[in-house]
């Protein structure tokens, strides 16, 4: 098992957001997390990545035989956990090349591999740029500066392609994307699917899932997963909304 979350509870400013969440993910599986606003979807993504404004108050998270909650954000990243951000951050003056070369070499150092020099990195990056149909001058541009919403999201997927993580968490990567950008992002994700790599896809909408076709769909509500199923659950949600499932949950 790649990821095992048990009874995860987390708060921010003493407000409880996650209230005992359980989730198990095997290598190669794609899990979608859906749910209404404020259910805790982004909190889950942030807590797994180690954002320190959230306080974990209880629970265990095992990631690839490590106690995840014990690791710093950068250690988690180096061990293969990747978060595609809901709002990718701009870093003026820092080129994508420097940024990603530093990141790739950080991960390689962890794996005991030699660092890539500028030339090796260029070669390595070129293929991935083509994959996401990014502009060739991407590497020279500052990280996310002057990028459209769609470009920022694609840049995150590009970074994911470079870092080759074990677990990819996509936090509403589909929000704000037009249909062409959505398809590019979905293609990027699909091309990275493998028997070893797992995904958590946090989303509001079914449309990204139509491209990705997750193995499992979970409904997150009030800090817990209240229903899990296969891809068909996403269709059910699209047709009936969350109300029905929430009502069932509250009655139970």
């Amino acid at each position: 098992m790649l990821l095992k979350i048990e009874n995860l509870q987390a708060q921010i400013d003493e407000k409880q957001i996650l209230k005992g969440l359980n989730l198990e993910i095997n290598a190669g599986e794609v899990h979608a997390i859906m749910g209404p606003n404020g259910a805790g979807k982004s909190t889950l993504a942030s807590v797994l990545a180690g954002k320190d404004s959230y306080e974990v108050t209880d629970g265990l998270v095992n990631f690839d035989d490590h106690d995840l909650l014990d690791l710093s954000p950068e250690e988690r990243a180096r061990k293969g956990l990747f978060l595609a951000f809901q709002y990718p951050v701009e870093i003026p003056g820092v080129s994508n090349k420097l940024f990603m070369q530093t990141a790739v070499n950080a991960v390689r150092e962890e794996q005991g591999l030699p660092a890539l020099d500028m030339f090796d990195f260029d070669e390595y990056a070129k293929d991935k740029i083509a994959l996401l149909d990014m502009h060739p001058d991407l590497l020279e541009r500052s990280v996310n500066v002057g990028f459209s919403g769609g470009e920022k999201k694609r840049n995150d997927i590009f970074q994911m392609a470079l870092l080759q993580p074990k677990l990819c968490i996509l936090d509403e990567t589909d929000s704000g994307l037009d249909i062409d950008a959505l398809r590019l992002v979905a293609n990027g994700i699909n091309s990275l699917r493998s028997a070893e790599r797992s995904f958590i896809v946090v989303t509001h909408y079914q449309r990204l899932l139509d491209y990705i076709k997750p193995d499992f769909v979970h409904v997150l509500y009030d800090g817990k997963i209240i229903k899990s199923g296969g891809f068909e659950l996403a269709h059910e949600l699209e047709a009936n909304g969350y109300d029905e499932i929430i009502k069932q949950h509250q009655q139970a």
Binding site: I12, D13, K15, I17, N37, G38, G40, K41, S42, T43, S46, A49, G50, K51, D52, S53, S72, P73, E74, R76, A77, R78, F82, L83, F85, Q86, P88, V89, E90, I91, P92, G93, V94, S95, L98, F99, M100, T102, A103, A106, V107, E110, S142, Q159, L163, E172
Partner: protein, 498 residues
């Protein structure tokens, strides 16, 4: 998701920057903070007319130089210490400083005030070697004037340069050997009565560098001066004059450092640059004076007057500075654009951390027609520091078609520091175009988290972001200097490099 987002951004504002501040609070590795123990001759503390005369006598100065000093001293006594800068310091006790200190080497003859390459005190030579300053001429691409406290101890490559007619020597030597040139230019750009510290400097000027580039000579190597304050309670008052005659070019660099001391040390320099028709001067500074302790104890007070004049048409003067040291910096390298079509540039990175205070900027005075000036200023404040940009762009009625572009960016690291901007613009000619852009940003938790989530260590992320912010200015520095500046920034920021 909206409510979650709100919660995040309104999050624990007090602890939000704790981690960054902790990181920055680690003791700075000020590797230049060592002290050289050697035989020195240091004047008793105190300042009066007798001291001014004694300094002049020590240097065997001609009568006109002594007269200049005394005139300045008299004027200085009528002035009040300025406190208008955005920097707090208790008024200095000028009687508690020594105004002359020089290494005396038992076996060498330093009577002349400055040694040649053979005569340098071995302890002093060791100090410069440790600082990586090539005083023995070991670096082919640079000529160095090394100044230790009050005197120039070595100036190399002089003979090679003199074949081209270039004069590169210490200020004291210039007074002896080129009195007519010194008299012609000294005080023409920064008069002795210009301001409090310029007056003080004019009275007690210790040593400095004198550069003259003759007509149509392109100086083939960089000229540089390295300033070292060693003795405690000593002020350094260097006087530098740089003259670029018609059609010439020179790139001049200066660096500096001082031992760690628990009391303020005063550095009040005056630099005058004169650029004739079609000549170009690039003046670069990497300032790394000791900045004091975490509690703001000690450090160098860097009160400097630097000014150049583009005397002739098409002259160009470019100031580039990377200011990372000093407890307090008070410095406005300026350009008087007198010649038609002359160009003034100011590129600055000022980093303050801990309790440092910097009030720096420039003045661009447009007099000639079609004169142009560019100001790019990057201020970075961290810790409990204050960083101020103060700049003036003045377009006189004669400056038909003058243009200025100013970009002034501030970056805050943490939430205990300050960034301030005081731009003054005075336009007296309607054909002038003046542009001013300013931004303030903060290295946010979000940026750092983004980097960390990609596996990048926090200190690497901070230095990457800061260097990115400064890139425009560093690209103006000569290559090796740019590297040094980047490293200094990294050291000043991380406190834990190497």
């Amino acid at each position: 998701m909206l409510d979650e987002k709100n919660i995040t951004s309104s999050g624990s504002s007090e602890t939000q920057y704790q981690e960054i501040n902790d990181l920055l609070d680690k003791n700075q590795h000020y590797k230049e903070g060592f002290f050289t123990s050697t035989h020195v001759e240091t004047f008793e503390k105190g300042l009066n007319e007798a001291v001014v005369r004694a300094i002049s006598a020590k240097k065997n100065e001609p009568e006109w130089m002594l007269a200049f000093r005394l005139k300045a001293f008299k004027h200085w006594q009528t002035l009040d210490e300025p406190h208008w800068a955005k920097a707090e310091y208790t008024p200095l006790d000028y009687q508690d400083y020594s105004y002359y200190s020089a290494p005396t080497c038992g076996s060498c003859d330093t009577e002349e005030g400055s040694g040649s390459e053979q005569e340098i005190d071995p302890e002093v030579a060791k100090a410069f070697a440790e600082l990586g300053v090539p005083i023995m001429g070991e670096d082919a691409n640079i000529a160095v004037d090394a100044i230790f406290d009050s005197v120039s101890v070595s100036t190399n490559k002089r003979e090679d340069l003199s074949k081209l007619g270039i004069i590169f020597c210490s200020f004291s030597e210039a007074v002896q050997d080129y009195p007519e040139l010194v008299q012609k230019y000294m005080g023409t750009v920064v008069p002795y009565h210009d301001n409090y510290f310029a007056a003080l400097n004019s009275a007690v000027a210790s040593d400095g560098t004198f550069v003259y580039i003759p007509e149509n000579v392109h100086c083939p190597i960089d000229l540089s001066t390295y300033f070292r304050i060693n003795e405690a309670k000593t002020g350094q008052f260097e006087r530098t004059i740089l003259v670029a005659d018609k059609g010439s070019y020179v790139s001049y660099l200066e660096g500096c450092s001082a031992p760690v001391r628990d009391t303020y040390q005063l550095h009040a320099a005056v630099v005058e640059v004169i650029v004739m028709d079609d000549a170009e001067v690039k003046y670069s500074t990497v300032q790394n004076w000791y900045s004091g302790t975490d509690d703001g104890e000690g450090g160098i007070l860097n009160f400097v007057t630097k000014r150049g004049i583009c005397e002739g048409k098409n002259a160009k003067l470019s100031w580039t500075q990377a200011e990372t040291g000093s407890a307090i910096t008070w410095k406005y390298p300026s350009c008087i654009l007198k010649g038609d079509n002359s160009i003034g540039e100011f590129y600055s990175v000022a980093l303050t951390n801990r309790r440092q205070q910097a009030d720096t900027g420039t003045k661009m005075i447009h007099i000639g027609k079609n004169t142009r000036s560019t100001i790019i200023s990057k201020g970075i404040s961290a810790g409990f520091s204050d960083n101020t940009y103060r700049g003036m762009v003045k377009i006189l009625p004669s400056a038909e078609g003058a243009r200025n572009f100013t970009q002034c960016d501030s970056m805050l690291i943490g939430d205990q520091c300050g960034a301030h901007t005081f731009p003054y613009i005075e336009v007296e000619n309607a054909t002038a175009q003046v542009e001013h852009e300013a931004t303030t940003s903060r290295i946010g938790e979000d940026q750092l988290f983004y980097c960390k989530q990609r596996g990048i260590r926090e200190e690497d992320a901070i230095s990457m972001i800061v260097n990115g912010f400064c890139k425009e200015v560093f690209s103006e520095l000569p290559l090796e200097f740019a590297q040094e500046a980047e490293e200094l920034l990294a050291i000043s920021l991380e406190g834990s490099v190497g």
